[in-house]
């Protein structure tokens, strides 16, 4: 198929529909509004449900209902709205409901601004809602990858019965790039997918068995039972950690002098700087986590070659992922951090300057 020039927000929405998402609930917020608007326009054309909810709280609870009914369902928002979804995300994880949540991050805290930022890393990867749970979190760095992640997110959600978040930012949402779309699932494929969760989800009781009774629930009042439930979740998370980390290596070799780590939009700016410095005779490797939960700790540790003097982390926040990098590096070499915040994005020149100072 030929490539289409599209904004990230629209591309991911189109890809979600292609992946068989037929229910979408959300509340408008910049910089993700093109996403909700695309869904408003396109969902009715494929016989799907688009509903503009009264709040992000309501939207995520509609997702809880639709996911509980076993159907592919998605919501999207930007940072302040994701905070409102935190309660629902905890319930979704507790009740083990598959769904996709997109965060097109903006500057915070509070109302912040509407420019790109990565300040929700902690919220996405370390909780956000209450209780002991994990979301699978994918961090795209191009419009193409943002779109590809829609179907991957739904597949992971279905496979593990767990909510999956795509952690993008205002830059990716707004920017236009050429995208290749995977073929759309047919109505028959979607219908077949709709049956995959019937061992536990809400659905009509076709054979009229009077014992039929499914519960979509996160409440376990007996601590003995709740401990078992949380342990089961923990075992599931361990399996996800073992099998589902994703990352990208760029110029990683045994002669690397510096190892740079960055994710999402930030990694693109960093890559330009790394290219320029390597052309000037330096040897810098770039490690980009694609899943930020589960975090690719071991894969990152393996990239610290014999000549690496230090690891440098660049983020559009005051230093959040750097904590995971430190866990991976485990004191082997010093870990440095620099970031910009408030919706300000660093330039390749600024990154170059920071890296040059290391030599």
């Amino acid at each position: 198929m030929s490539k289409v020039l599209m904004k990230g927000n629209e591309a991911v929405a189109k890809a979600a529909i292609n992946a068989g998402c037929r229910l979408y609930f959300a509340y408008p917020i910049t910089p993700q509004s093109e996403l909700i608007e695309y869904m408003a326009k396109m969902m009715p054309t494929v016989g799907g449900t688009f509903l503009q909810a009264e709040s992000e709280v309501a939207a995520i609870n509609m997702v809880y209902g639709a996911a509980g009914a076993g159907k592919r369902v998605m919501t999207s928002s930007s940072s302040p709205g994701i905070s409102l979804k935190a309660e629902g995300m905890s319930y979704l994880a507790g009740a083990q409901l598959p769904c996709v949540i997109i965060n097109v991050q903006r500057g915070g805290p509070g109302l912040g601004d509407i420019q790109p930022a990565q300040g929700d890393y902690f919220q996405a990867t370390k909780g956000g809602g209450h209780g002991d749970y994990r979301l699978i979190v994918l961090a795209p760095s191009s419009v193409q990858e943002f779109a590809d992640m829609a179907s991957e997110a739904f597949d992971l959600a279905d496979k593990y019965r767990n909510p999956v978040m795509i952690l993008a930012d205002g830059m990716l949402g707004q920017m236009m790039e050429p995208v290749d779309f995977k073929p759309a699932k047919t109505d028959q494929e979607i219908e077949a997918m709709g049956h995959q969760h019937e061992s536990w989800c809400i659905h009509p009781n076709q054979d009229g068995d009077l014992k039929h009774h499914h519960e979509i629930n996160s409440l376990e009042i007996d601590p003995v039972v709740l401990e078992k439930h949380v342990t089961k979740l923990y075992e599931k998370y361990a399996q996800i950690e073992a099998n589902e980390t994703r990352h990208e290596l760029y110029n990683i070799n045994d002669d690397n002098e510096i190892l740079v780590v960055a994710f999402g939009t930030a990694s693109r700016v960093v890559r330009s700087a790394v290219d320029e410095l390597n052309a000037e005779g330096k040897n810098i490797g770039l490690f980009r986590p694609i899943t930020v939960w589960p975090y690719p700790y071991e894969e990152l540790a393996k990239c610290i070659g014999p000549r690496v003097k230090q690891v440098y982390v660049f983020e559009l926040n005051t230093g959040q992922m750097v904590e995971d990098v430190k866990i991976a590096v485990n004191g082997k070499v010093p870990v440095n951090f620099w970031g910009r915040v408030g919706g300000m994005v660093f330039t390749p020149e600024q990154i170059k300057e920071k890296l040059q100072a290391c030599f």
């Binding site: 229910l23 609930f25 449900t49 509903l51 909810a53 009264e54 709040s55 709280v57 309501a58 939207a59 609870n61 509609m62 997702v63 809880y64 209902g65 639709a66 996911a67 509980g68 009914a69 076993g70 159907k71 369902v73 309660e87 629902g88 319930y91 009740a95 989800c201 809400i202 659905h203 009509p204 009781n205 076709q206 009229g208 009077l210 039929h212 009774h213 499914h214 519960e215 979509i216 629930n217 996160s218 409440l219």
Partner: protein
């Protein structure tokens, strides 16, 4: 021996967790009987709230979801939109529906969402031990209004049927009482009508039950019924607020 009353098929053989004399059990039974009568047990899904009826997801004999506090109408919306061939209801207390979940109920009603809502108004937060609810009567004492509800400070109780009746979309809104035998017979008719409209896909239906909470009111069950008749019914007047299906 002739069996004249038995457990409705729509109720599972699980003991209720309610206090003796609590009206929640009556409301459950009316709903279950109506679902049986309309032959909907295999196409029904319910949403339980957070409150004393939090375990309702265990009691009804079809698929159930347990919602976060106040969010049942949004959860029901998600289920109904995902499974339009099913019939969906929520069961909610007054703290759940009229305080923390005010936005969700108003907007589900305003969308004319094709669900039934069963609203148990006992003028108090039962589950958490008797705190003030948005429906607590003026001057009524609760653990968080120990000097009585002061309306100058905290406002008047909310009459939810009247509030929802200002919206265009709802199909059927009725307030009933669970305070006496004859009232319960009337309540049953209302519940059955709501389920029937639900079956026929008519739109949003809402039944409020004027109820008691003997435990947290600190009044024994029979006296609680009398107290409620004298104090609740004058403020929460039973009646049909809206019935778009009624013969002209």
């Amino acid at each position: 021996m002739e069996v004249i009353a038995t457990r409705p098929k729509s109720l599972r053989d699980v003991p209720f967790t309610y206090c003796p004399g609590c009206t929640h059990g009556i409301a459950h039974r009316l709903i279950a009987e109506s679902i049986d009568e309309h032959g909907l047990i295999n196409k029904m899904a319910g949403v339980a709230p957070v409150g004393c009826s939090v375990f309702a997801y265990k009691f009804f004999n079809f698929d159930m979801a347990e919602a976060a506090h106040g969010r049942a109408p949004a959860v029901a919306t998600g289920i109904k939109r995902a499974r339009p061939d099913m019939h969906v209801f929520t069961y909610q207390g007054d703290g759940d529906l009229a305080a923390i979940g005010t936005a969700e109920i108003v907007h589900a009603a305003n969308r004319g969402e094709h669900i039934s809502v069963f609203f148990v108004n006992n003028a108090i937060y039962g589950m958490t031990g008797g705190q003030m609810a948005p429906t607590t009567l003026p001057d009524m004492k609760t653990t968080t209004s120990p000097y009585g509800r002061k309306v100058d400070d905290i406002g008047y109780p909310i009459r939810v049927c009247e509030l929802l009746d200002t919206l265009v979309a709802p199909y059927y809104i009725e307030r009933v009482s669970l305070l006496s035998g004859p009232d319960i017979i009337k309540a049953k008719k209302a519940v059955s009508k709501a389920i029937q409209y639900n079956k026929e896909g008519r739109g949003f239906t809402f039944i409020e039950f004027v109820s008691t909470c003997p435990t947290n009111w600190g009044i024994e069950p029979v006296k609680a019924l009398v107290w409620a008749k004298e104090n609740m019914l004058p403020f929460y007047k039973p009646g049909v607020f809206r019935d778009k299906g009624a013969p002209e």
